[in-house]
Symmetry: C2
Subunit: 139 residues, 2 copies
DNA sequence: TTGTTCTAGTCAGATTCTCTGATTAAAGTA
DNA sequence: TACTTTAATCAGAGAATCTGACTAGAACAA
């Protein structure tokens, strides 16, 4: 079985489970919105950077940030260092979803570790982290 | 960094590269179509199965198969064992894309192995394969 | 200083992907 | 036969994504 599909399946599983957990906790958010939201840094991130990180066009990122803003999960503030730019920042409301997502992530990792063992889990993480160096356009 | 994102990044990279290679070889196909096409078995697969495998609704799978059929990459034939069902089958035209995809996949694997080493690559594959057992809804 | 070029973001419009709900036809079952 | 389930499709809508064109501010070179 090809390694692309092999990577895709658990990746999709994580996405689905975390999104489900967050939505069930009362946060109305979609997968696409979450993918952008996840990339907003602690001091705010420019739209262009978000677009690159999420691997979508600026237009798409803008569209998703619009929705996140309407829903109150992010806010746009002027970038003091550049009059053209604005920083997208996570609001307190969105911060409240973080522990929910983290808890589900921890549950998933525990299940996986249970299934494949601590050693393999560590190896997996190491290999993926290194692959990120050559496959993450944001890194 | 969370393992979902860690999985997502190289998975997306593989998808993008293979799709690009196939499209550049003259096959007009989209990512969503490819995800369905990839799951069609050698003797044909029912729409419902494809939908499950690709984790989309039957309607979505049907929509994508319609497009693949129009483009000549698959055909629908009656299922001899069930009058309600039809089997989606890959055509010769689509078969021609297989070596292109395989070649690109081999290139990617070679690059990755170069970067993380043979041992880690084998460990990665083993861990992912096992994770598939608990995360692949189709398996 | 003044053009020219580049960059950040938005607007407009279209396409693609995906879903929910209802429907048809064939199987399976009591 | 009548009821239930299953495979697939139809209809309609919403979400996500793209390409191309535009505006305003920044950077830079002459």
């Amino acid at each position: 079985m090809n390694i692309g599909l092999l990577l895709f399946i658990p990746s999709r599983a994580v996405e689905n489970r975390i999104l489900t957990a967050v939505v069930e906790a009362g946060f109305e958010i979609t997968q696409a919105q979450a993918r952008v939201l996840m990339r907003v840094g602690p001091d705010g991130t420019r739209l262009t950077e978000l677009a690159e990180a999420a691997q979508v066009t600026k237009q798409t990122a803008g569209f998703l940030v619009d929705q996140l803003e309407k829903a109150g999960y992010v806010e746009r503030v002027p970038d003091p260092s550049d009059g053209r730019a604005r920083l997208v920042r996570v609001t307190d409301k969105a911060q409240e979803a973080v522990p929910v997502a983290n808890a589900e992530m921890a549950r998933i990792e525990a299940e996986w570790e249970q299934h494949i063992g601590k050693r393999r889990m560590a190896q997996l993480r190491e290999a993926l982290d290194m692959l990120g160096e050559i496959t993450d356009p944001y890194r």
